[in-house]
């Protein structure tokens, strides 16, 4: 390879083997990754020539694509790794510049700042770089208090669906997002993204839990409790409607057949939680669903929309995670693509997202009540019900109050109620199934 220049390089067989070894070393240390499989280096790019330098690698590991930006420093050169970075050094490497100590770029603040500059043009102080998140598929660094820089370690051929949704929403002016600054893409693969850091944000789940906790301590009607969540739920509903209008604008809509949805819902429930179908209230609900004589629009939705996917800052509510990339947790309410090939993004009723969030509100309240009142003697489940009822109302009022949203949901309160409740059943069943699996 030619380390003195930048750009995608031809990788010699020996360099390829050395890089593969480094990828193997990286995989062995990465929690959640299965190591030991064969590694095949697909491409490499020198992003920072010299020392310290960066060689960015995409490789095949077992049956998936992995991406690792390697940092290179001259042996003996001082490197100050970020906390938890004791095992950052992965091995050594020799190129035309001589031998180098190789490490994970995201563990070295100076080289990580260099990487950010190369891929986004943003210049940050290395002393203000820190780890924000680290999961199986990506690592996110906070750069100063203004940029969140995500490096994807698991990549796919073609654009990442969640980034597609994210950038499309930004493009159409939906501003409840951490503004994107740069997309790092090579050979058609999305390798990373730099976006505004939502400093001082609290997750929607934590905020709702604060309210629930307060109610369980004080009792009484939730609207009179100190930590009332009603106004926040209303704002959250408003944001959700704006998100749907944005998705509609960005990707368009398709007309859905509620009859088909009814069948899909029933079949999903039958597969995941057959006992639910035996409940009289469910039987009645599905009966009402079957006879609904309405049509409804389907759009690209969030797909897995719950409190944990949102956060609150002093600027308001944000959607922070399109991890599902619009690929829904279930196909209930989905509309097949016109070509009928079954591929491509799924369109489905926006009420499915609404139902996800309503389920999430219920989930936070009932889980917290169960934890605190295992015997049920303290009556927290009644408080939970009251909290859920109030915040459902507030969320829906916020959602339905946004001009234009009526064009995306079926007409009439009854249709809204029946469809939403049916999607909620599916969501709860999916959750149960995930719990059983996990």
């Amino acid at each position: 390879m030619t380390p003195s220049g930048t750009g995608v390089v031809d990788v010699s067989d020996s360099a390829r083997a050395a890089l593969a070894e480094l990828v193997t070393a990286y995989a062995a240390r990465r929690s959640g990754w299965t190591g030991g499989g064969a590694v095949r280096v697909l491409d490499a790019e020198v992003l920072g020539p010299g020392r310290p330098g960066i060689v960015d690698v995409v490789a095949e590991l077992d049956d998936r694509l992995v991406h690792v930006p390697f940092g290179l420093r001259a042996p003996g050169e001082e490197a100050r790794f970020l906390p938890d970075g004791d095992d950052a050094v992965l091995g050594s490497f020799v190129d035309d510049e001589g031998p180098a100590m190789v490490f994970d770029v995201t563990r070295d603040a100076v080289v990580a700042a260099m990487l950010l500059e190369r891929v986004s043009g943003e210049v940050v102080q290395a002393s203000l770089v820190r780890h924000l998140r680290d999961d199986k598929a990506s690592i996110t660094l906070a750069m100063e208090d203004r940029i969140a820089f995500t490096v994807y370690n698991e990549v796919v051929d073609g654009p990442r669906p969640e980034l597609e949704v994210f950038f499309a929403l930004d493009e159409v002016g939906f501003n409840h997002l951490a503004a994107p600054l740069a997309l790092w893409r090579r050979a058609g693969r999305d390798l990373g993204v730099a976006q505004e850091l939502l400093a001082g944000a609290s997750s929607g789940y934590a905020l709702a839990l604060t309210s629930v906790r307060d109610l369980y301590a004080s009792g009484g009607p939730p609207e009179l409790a100190g930590g009332d969540f009603g106004a926040e739920a209303h704002r959250l509903g408003t944001m959700t409607a704006r998100m749907h209008l944005g998705l509609d604008k960005a990707f368009g809509r398709r007309l859905g057949d509620v009859g088909e949805w009814a069948a899909a819902i029933e079949s999903t429930l039958g597969g995941l939680a057959p006992h639910v179908l035996e409940r009289p209230d469910v039987e009645q609900l599905l009966g009402e669903l079957r006879v609904l004589q309405v049509s409804s629009q389907a759009i690209r939705t969030h797909g897995d929309f719950h409190l944990g996917r949102t956060c609150r800052t002093e600027q308001g509510w944000y959607v922070v995670d399109f991890g599902s990339g619009g690929q829904p947790t279930s196909m209930a309410g989905a509309v097949r693509a016109p070509d009928g090939d079954g591929g491509g993004p799924v369109f489905r009723s926006p009420l499915a997202d609404v139902a996800d969030m309503l389920w999430s509100l219920e989930h936070v309240a009932t889980t917290a009540a169960d934890e605190r009142d295992r015997s049920g003697r303290d009556g927290l489940s009644e408080l939970a019900d009251a909290w859920v009822a109030r915040n459902r109302r507030a969320f829906l009022a916020g959602y339905l109050g946004v001009p234009g949203i009526s064009g995306l949901v079926p007409p009439g309160r009854e249709a809204l109620r029946v469809l939403t409740a049916s999607f909620e059943l599916v969501r709860a069943a999916v959750h149960q199934a995930r719990q059983s699996e996990g």
């Binding site: 820190r130 906070a142 208090d145 001082g200 609290s202 307060d214 930590g227 609150r312």
Partner: protein, 623 residues
């Protein structure tokens, strides 16, 4: 310039001394009154570092046993105020008045209300306060007078008398319909018919408070003369009441008009020219974006009350989350470097809800108004302690937030001992009951007959003077009064609380409100805008400051909470807790963890790491 003097000369006691300057109030002479010497300490921006104390003279201490607090009584309690550690007293109106609006209906601008004493009592009080380094500002109502004021009495006699156009008159009551009625539960219109003159007169507040006509240069001259008169006498400034409403224009709400700002700039210029180091504090109950206009470019008012912040503080502790506060700070624009916010928990008026949304107002009312009588106008007429159900931990937390946010804190008299209120008293009197000094007769406020008192003192078992009084608090070293005094002393040691920049510290826990106050860059030119929400440069500048930044962490929840603070910008600093001077583990490179008890808070001086205890635990995590 001509200024109308009141018909009766102010009564003056005591001996005449040299009287160089108290004469420029329209050329009038006040024999026997001498100007006071101003406090030597403080410098031009004393108001940015000081702690203010709002006092109702009538309710503080009665020196002559007539049942009404007075200026001599206030002077007698200066020992206490000095001990408490306040820097500036704000006196509620002390002018002659029919007292239909707590003295804000002034009937003579050039003397003091006979109930409160004489002009020379005020001078002696000012002298004594200044000797102790305590400054004194007073309310001044520029917008209107009482309908008993001689100017209005004359103005209403005819349409062509010399004061005919000193007020705002009209043939009908239809003009300026866009102007809202401020006291909606009392007044139905801003116009009131005057039988004598057969015209309507304009009033933004009560109908017995006609608005002055600032279109008339004679009115401007007269009111500037009032200002000069009191500054000559030794007052350190004014709290300017109801400033947004000075002018009216067709098609507008009559609030925050450019003409009003121009007048304030003119006033500031006059004040600065002849009376440097005085302060103009604007009362403008407006949204932050409109409020900042009252600072101008550092050439209007020195200070403004930050009204929208106050209800948000209460909302934050009720919701157990910081967003009500951080939102309003984020919406607060930068202010010039030579200006300052005045921030407060409670004052003599109701807990103002004008500047919260309707939904939030309903929420606040539902939260705090257990009894409909407690509701006044658009707000809530309660004192701090009953608002918090007497929770002292909460009172300490709110004071800690108040004393550390950007702005100069204003304490309302009695709140330092967590006094209660009497919701059965009319209008705003519920929070104006006598100061409770001791468990003696009338709470030590007055030796008059009980029936003679201007208002009855509190006598209920929880907040009554037998249970809550200064004497008991002073005897008990663990009282709220001692706690407050202690934290005020601590605050004084760190001017950064008054003049520093403000940076929110990210924390995922919504119940944690954390921020760092850092020293301003020393080269910062006067007049450069400064923002309350987040400093532009942000973070510590260890290369330029001598003072350390201060980290403030507050738990708004009734439950213990963990706080993972992102202190990357203050990496390697060594936190020292301010109240106990306790060294804490140094800040590492990433997050810094602290745990806080219910309603707990910490203030940390972020000292340079080289001063840290080398033996202290050192990974940024607390045990």
């Amino acid at each position: 310039m001509t200024v109308s003097r009141p018909a009766k000369a102010p009564r003056v006691r005591g001996s005449a001394t040299g009287l160089p300057s108290a004469r420029r109030a329209g050329g009038a002479r006040l024999p026997g009154i001498r100007p006071t010497a101003l406090p030597a300490k403080g410098g031009a921006d004393w108001f940015r570092r000081g702690v203010f104390y709002e006092v109702l003279t009538r309710g503080f201490f009665d020196s002559n046993d007539d049942g009404i607090g007075d200026l001599a009584g206030l002077r007698a309690k200066l020992d206490y105020l000095e001990w408490l550690g306040v820097d500036c007293l704000w006196l509620l109106p002390f002018y002659p008045s029919p007292m239909r609006d707590g003295g804000y209906d002034i009937s003579d601008f050039f003397t003091v209300h006979p109930d409160l004493g004489h002009l020379d009592d005020l001078v002696e009080f000012l002298d004594d306060a200044h000797r102790r380094g305590i400054r004194v500002i007073a309310d001044l109502v520029m917008n209107h007078t009482s309908d008993q004021h001689p100017w209005f009495v004359e103005s209403r006699t005819s349409r062509d008398n010399p004061k005919a156009d000193w007020y705002v008159w009209n043939e009908d009551d239809q003009r300026w319909p866009e102007a809202r009625v401020v006291f909606v539960d009392v007044e139905t219109s801003n116009w009131t018919w005057d039988q004598q003159r057969q015209q309507y007169y304009w009033h933004r507040f009560y109908s017995h408070q006609p608005d002055l006509n600032y279109e008339n240069p004679a009115v401007v001259d007269a009111m500037f003369g009032v200002v000069r008169f009191w500054l000559d006498l030794g007052l350190d400034g004014f709290r300017l009441d109801a400033v947004p409403y000075l002018f009216q224009r067709d098609g507008t709400t009559g609030e925050n008009l450019p003409e009003t700002h121009a007048l304030l700039r003119q006033l500031r210029k006059e004040v600065d020219a002849a009376h440097p180091n005085r302060v103009l504090l604007a009362e403008a109950n407006q949204w932050p974006a409109d409020l900042v206009d009252y600072f101008g470019n550092g050439d209007e008012c020195h200070m403004c009350f930050h009204f929208p912040l106050m209800p948000r503080l209460f909302m934050a502790v009720r919701r157990e989350q910081r967003f009500p506060v951080t939102e309003i700070l984020a919406q607060t624009p930068e202010i010039p470097d030579n200006c300052q916010w005045a921030i407060f928990l409670r004052n003599h008026d109701e807990l103002t809800l004008e500047k919260v949304t309707e939904e939030e107002r309903d929420y606040m009312v539902a939260e705090y108004v257990k009894d409909p009588r407690m509701r006044r106008h658009m707000g809530i007429g309660r004192r701090l302690a009953p608002l918090l159900d007497g929770d002292r931990r909460l009172a300490e937390l709110l004071h800690a937030v108040l004393f550390s946010l950007p702005g100069s804190p204003v304490i309302y008299y009695g709140d330092e001992i967590l006094m209660g209120d009497n919701v059965y008293l009319g209008d705003r009197d519920s929070v104006r009951t006598p100061m409770q000094w001791s468990p003696d007769r009338n709470g030590g406020f007055s030796r008059s007959d009980f029936a003679q008192l201007y208002l009855p003192p509190l006598m209920d078992p929880v907040y009554g003077f037998e249970a809550v009084n200064v004497e008991a608090h002073r005897r008990n070293p663990s009282s709220h009064l001692h706690w407050l005094r202690n934290i005020l002393q601590t605050r004084k040691q760190f001017p950064v609380f008054g003049t520093g920049t403000f940076d929110l510290v990210p924390c995922a826990n919504p119940s944690i409100l954390a921020y760092v106050r850092s020293p301003q860059p020393p080269s910062s030119p006067t007049g450069r805008p400064r923002r309350a929400g987040r400093s532009r440069r942000g973070g510590a500048r260890p290369d330029v400051e001598e003072e350390s930044p201060v980290l403030c962490v507050h738990n708004l929840s009734r439950f213990a909470q963990p706080a993972e603070l992102d202190l990357a910008r203050w990496a390697n600093r060594a936190p020292v807790e301010l109240l106990g001077r306790i060294p804490f583990p140094p800040v590492g490179n990433g997050t810094y963890s602290v745990t806080l008890g219910p309603y707990g808070f910490y203030w940390f001086e972020l000292t340079a790491a080289h001063g840290a205890d080398p033996d202290a635990p050192g990974d940024g995590e607390l045990p």
